[in-house]
């Protein structure tokens, strides 16, 4: 704590000015202020949202958004310096690690749904994607029913594996579902013929295919397991003051057009580590959402 700040604080107190800063801080904001640090959770292979580049540093669309949020928090708390700590998370560990205070913001590709809102909160949506599956062209698994009795992989702890599990029961597929630790490992199961299909959000599938050794070998299904669902940056539940700051930061980012620029950087330009271009244009739903930021878990509200 700098002396300048102390004097300022003393002055504010002396003058009896009741500003946001002089109010008692609680929860995550208090902790960030006290420790001078914030911890971001990142993913190994959620391309292009949050993944490791050539130097094994986490980068991506969601990481960029998170760094903007960090800037806003720094400003809000009037901190000269805010240390950013990074902690790896997997689909399976992200929610418990958010709940137990290990990470403050989870910057990745986490689907915001009503069920998860009982455990964690989300800020404004940064992407919309549906759950599909990728398969090798040679296996020709055109519809979900073609997965009958086959070995299908998905990532442990995702909404996708849950939807797959439910479809498996509802449609009587009798598919053998294998959970993988992360998306790269799951894709590898298909690449090495361990599994015939990988069920995941279509944007992540498209990125994995684009980055694979022979992108031409893979097809992403037309059939979907879900409607396009919103992705959100995850934060701790029941921490309204923190959510207010994060929501304001993301809303400002999206409405100012800066969000679109970051989008362009990761979805339309060359991205590390291999310099591939995903060429996924900003869809009308997300464009609309950027104009009117929303943290709703309901897919229908984005139409």
């Amino acid at each position: 704590m700098t002396s300048k700040y102390l004097i300022g604080f003393a002055l504010a107190a002396a003058l009896g000015v009741s500003q946001a800063q002089a109010e008692e801080l609680t929860g995550t904001l208090k902790n960030i202020k006290e420790t001078g640090a914030i911890t971001l959770g990142f993913r190994d292979s959620s391309i292009p949202f949050s993944y490791l580049d050539d130097n094994q540093k986490p980068v991506g669309y969601a990481m960029d958004i998170c760094y903007k949020i960090v800037d806003a928090i720094k400003k809000e708390l009037k901190l000269d310096k805010l240390e950013v700590k990074l902690n790896p998370v997997t689909s399976a560990t992200r929610i418990p690690l958010m709940a137990n205070g290990t990470v403050d913001l989870e910057c990745g590709s986490t689907t915001n749904n009503a069920e998860r809102q009982k455990q964690v909160w989300f800020t404004n949506t940064h992407f919309l994607t549906a759950s599909r599956y990728v398969f090798k062209k040679s296996s020709g698994l055109k519809s979900i029913d073609d997965l009958k009795g086959k070995t299908v992989v998905s990532t442990a702890g995702t909404t996708n594996i849950k939807q797959l599990t439910e479809a498996n029961v509802a449609r009587g597929l009798g598919a053998n579902i294998i959970p993988a630790k992360d998306h790269a490992e799951a894709f590898l199961m298909v690449e090495t013929d361990r599994a015939v299909a990988f069920v995941m959000d279509d944007i992540l599938l498209a990125s994995l295919v684009a980055g694979s050794k022979s992108p031409g070998d893979y097809v992403i299904s037309k059939d979907a397991f879900s409607k396009p669902e919103p992705y959100g940056i995850m934060l701790r539940k029941d921490d309204a003051p923190f959510k207010k700051v994060v929501d304001a930061a993301t809303a400002a980012l999206y409405t100012s057009g800066e969000g679109e620029k970051i989008y362009d950087k990761w979805f339309m330009q060359k991205i590390p580590p291999k310099g591939l271009t995903l060429n996924v244009e900003l869809g009308p739903e997300l464009k609309h959402e950027f104009a009117k930021p929303s943290d709703s878990p309901d897919p229908d509200s984005y139409k």
């Binding site: 929860g27 902790n31 420790t35 911890t39 190994d44 292979s45 490791l52 130097n55 094994q56 700590k85 902690n87 790896p88 998370v89 997997t90 560990t93 418990p96 690690l97 709940a99 137990n100 205070g101 290990t102 990470v103 403050d104 630790k181 992360d182 790269a184 490992e185 590898l188 690449e191 090495t192 694979s212 050794k213 580590p273």
Partner: protein, 232 residues
């Protein structure tokens, strides 16, 4: 056609700095600190088990049996999620204490290994003839002094080869932090493997590295064992 023909071992050379400066450094630091912590707490647990206070002995015995009944993977999951709450409880903070990936793994392995090290130290302490602590107390040494200067140094020395062998097991076991996506040596290797689609090369290389280190270490332990045996 086998894939041996199109293996690309250059991927290993390119990722060596990351594999060793980050991955192996994590693994070795974790191993060394966990072995040290495990030994300290293991010795305390062994002393509790052998103490004349029955309650202490029961608590220690329960802890050791409990931990030794559980798979390490389960213990790793437990601690990674639970340690922040324990921190909150210990410090009386209003929210869970944020514990980083390394600290959390270290606490997990110390807690886990302490159970195993305590059994070794217990055997070591029991291997000292009863006359020695008796003589120590006849000389006027307190319990703490007789442990500190007479019993524990000998127990430690007698058990050194076993302790070191357990440390080699620990070195191998640290690879299980892979389940948490923490970049230890194996985690680093698997990240490169998955990023570049070079699974065969990276896993073979990782296996070789673990093998060489463990082999050399256990060879050293065997040499040490024979030297100690001669001295005795």
């Amino acid at each position: 056609m086998t894939m041996l023909g199109n293996l690309d071992f250059d991927v290993i050379r390119r990722s060596l700095p990351y594999l060793f400066l980050e991955g192996m450094r994590f693994t070795l630091t974790l191993t060394a600190l966990a072995a040290f912590g495990g030994l300290v707490f293991g010795t305390l647990i062994a002393l509790m088990r052998l103490s004349s206070y029955k309650v202490l002995g029961r608590i220690a015995g329960f802890y050791v049996d409990f931990i030794r009944s559980l798979p390490l993977v389960l213990v790793i999951f437990w601690f990674y999620f639970l340690v922040p709450y324990i921190g909150q409880w210990l410090t009386g903070a209003s929210r869970p204490i944020s514990v980083g990936a390394f600290a959390s793994s270290l606490i997990t392995f110390i807690a886990f290994e302490a159970a195993y090290f305590s059994e070794i130290m217990r055997a070591g302490i029991q291997s000292i003839s009863r006359g020695q602590p008796a003589a120590a107390s006849a000389l006027g040494l307190t319990y703490a002094q007789s442990m500190r200067y007479v019993v524990l140094p000998q127990a430690f020395r007698n058990m050194l080869p076993v302790l070191l062998t357990q440390t080699i097991v620990l070195f191998q076991d640290t690879s299980l932090v892979y389940v948490l996506s923490i970049p230890d040596f194996l985690g680093a290797a698997s990240k490169v493997a998955q990023r570049d689609g070079r699974l065969v090369e990276m896993y073979l290389f990782a296996a070789l590295v673990y093998f060489v280190i463990s082999c050399v270490a256990s060879f050293g332990v065997r040499r040490l064992q024979s030297r100690i045996a001669i001295v005795r």
